[in-house]
Amino acid sequence: MKKAARAASARLDGVRSVPMPPMVKYLDQDGELLEKQSMSDELALEGYRVMLRGRRFDERCVSLQRQGRMVTLAPGIGQEAATVGAAMALDATTDWFVPQYRELAGQLWHGYPLRLAFLWHVGHPIAFQVPGDLNMLPFQAAIAGQLPQAVGLAWGLRLKRARGVVVAVFGDGGTSQGDFHEAANLAGVMKAPIIFLCQNNGWAISTTVEQQTASETLAQKAVAYGFPGIQCDGNDLFAVYATVREAVTRARNGEGPTLVEAITYRLGLHTTADDPTRYEPREMHDMWVDRDPLRRMQLHLVSRGVIDRSGLERMEDEVKEELRVAWDEAQKEPAPDPSYYFGHVHASPSTRLGGQLKRFERDGPG
């Protein structure tokens, strides 16, 4: 190798990696606190309840889907702490929650009704009609497609000098999308009050994170856009809550965006059309079962005496009943009129579309 080339190579070796981002963690695997955390016991119990609600909802829906009563759906089993912890750090009256499609538990905390969640999984269009007082965008199927919009929303709030901030949720696969990079870049430039919450759940369908990126962490991608990236234990409610809360404070103070990589694991399926046994090593699954965020939180709450065994059983019964009521309500929702899909294309339909609707109402499709 020539001398100059050797020197260049040596220079590049030095800049190949960036410092590891900080990793936030409070609870160990058995629910013991590693260090003091700030959430009150009452709030922790409420957080646990919503995590449980999300878990039981997903389990119920997978079962209903297997009975042919629901459409293809993407359960968030195993990721409840990551999304609930983030939602808990927000003020729902001013702050926005922008989902992908695997963060229902967090959406429930933010105020999305269970009844609509059930209707989402039967394919009813009103599930996408976020209730009028709820600061939330609808589910997004295009991976990372919500991120440019979330940045626009956050930037818009800043231009209005409003108090609100935005949490936008996406996955490890989403970090490969141009939309992620364009959104992060603009957010940095505009100092948009946004928290990019990346749920690194290990898998993008069957693709591993190692196949997704050569970066050592996903959090470090923030460095390139001029704002902090931080990792937290995504199966630790306290860690996610504390990390996102700090990022929310930064955003509210006009200090701009933060990328939070919540390390979690998809204990369930990508969707009900997926079969993880084709690609997921059994031992890896089992290892993460032991790190189940609900189990850890439950052990913690019991060991602190916040709740006991009978209290937990009571909570299970209450959640079961809530789900039953919501599912009953959802089933009572009238099916949309076939002509419903003509609505909401424009504020008022064009002459041409109006004509198509008339013909549809007279003759049906075709």
């Binding site: 269009p125 996408f128 965008l137 919009q149 930037w155 818009g156 209005k160 424009h346 002459t351």
Partner: protein, 308 residues
């Protein structure tokens, strides 16, 4: 912007320099950097952020510097922006105007000249406006900004420097979805939009010398389409030529031809003809005059249709 404080202008180079075609000239000086904003060079997030800004209560007028590069943000324009109202069942809407220079004839570099309108007219929820005169550009732009739904506003590259015309002063709007008769005639209807209207008018003038009376219909708005005006003109003349700058296959002219067939078939005295670019990508500068439909080719089609 004077009238509505919610209007914000942003995009690549729209601020201090006033846009590469000076379309936003003077706005930065007048309204400042809070409302006239230079953004990073990224079409996807320009279109996507417009959605979020609209949801936050702003009225974004964003510029895609050339329509040829809009495909970098195709997902945000077609799959997202166009569907905001629909997919949220009316909870959200996107009062967004995306301005985009497009079309050929000014010897611009590769991908700066393509007439890609048909890629966007196929996106339900998105309005597509393509004016040909300065007055319509003003009236339709103001109407687009005030429209509650997203509008892709196409500005012909040739229009910036080669077309001159009176512009009404003050607050002036032209309703979206209304074609205009650019020239009255009785033998053949030539239907065009954007820069092709000038070409059609020249051809009509030349046809007049041969004793053919040509009506030129300027669509102005592709979506919504003024079906009534098309039907009325073709019913009157019985003959139609549709002109588009884009390659022939699956171009918007095909939509116009199908519409005529549905609405005015029994008035037709001759097959409808299309004048379009051939099915090849837009060529580099030395070849472009052989590519973009010119008055000669339109005249040939006019004459041919009167002999069918």
């Amino acid at each position: 912007m004077e009238r509505d404080e919610r209007v914000v202008v942003f995009g690549e180079d729209v601020g201090v320099t006033g846009g590469v075609f000076r379309a936003t000239d003077g706005l930065f000086a007048r309204y400042g950097q809070a409302r006239v904003i230079d953004t990073p060079l990224a079409e996807g997030v320009i279109a996507g952020a417009a959605i979020g800004l609209a949801i936050a209560g702003w009225v974004p007028v964003a510029e895609i510097q050339f329509l040829g590069f809009a495909h970098n943000g195709f997902n945000q324009v077609v799959d997202q922006l166009a569907r905001v109202r629909y997919r949220s069942a009316g909870r959200f809407s996107a009062q967004v105007t995306l301005r985009a220079p497009y079309g050929g004839g000014v010897r611009a570099p590769e991908l700066h000249s393509d007439a890609f309108e048909a890629h966007f007219t196929h996106a339900p929820g998105l309005k597509v406006i393509a004016p040909s005169t300065p007055a319509d550009a003003k009236g339709l732009l103001l109407a687009s900004i005030r429209d509650p739904d997203p509008v892709l506003f196409l500005e012909p590259l040739r229009g910036y420097r080669q077309v001159k015309g009176e512009v009404p002063a003050g607050d002036y709007t032209v309703e979206l979805g209304e074609a205009s008769v650019a020239r009255e005639g009785s033998d053949v209807t030539v239907i065009a939009w954007s820069a092709a209207v000038q070409v059609a008018l020249q051809a009509a003038e030349d046809a007049q010398a041969q004793g053919i009376s040509v009506e030129v219909l300027d669509l102005r708005s592709l979506v919504p389409l003024d079906v009534k005006a098309i039907a009325a003109s073709v019913s009157k003349t019985g003959r139609a030529v549709v002109v588009q700058e884009a390659p022939l296959t699956s171009g918007f002219a095909a939509e116009v031809v199908a519409t005529i067939q549905e609405e005015a078939f029994f008035s037709l005295q001759a097959p409808i003809r299309r004048v379009a670019a051939p099915d090849v990508p837009y060529p580099v500068q030395m070849l472009e005059e052989h590519y973009v439909p010119n008055a000669e080719r339109v005249l040939e089609a006019i004459v041919a249709t009167t002999r069918d």
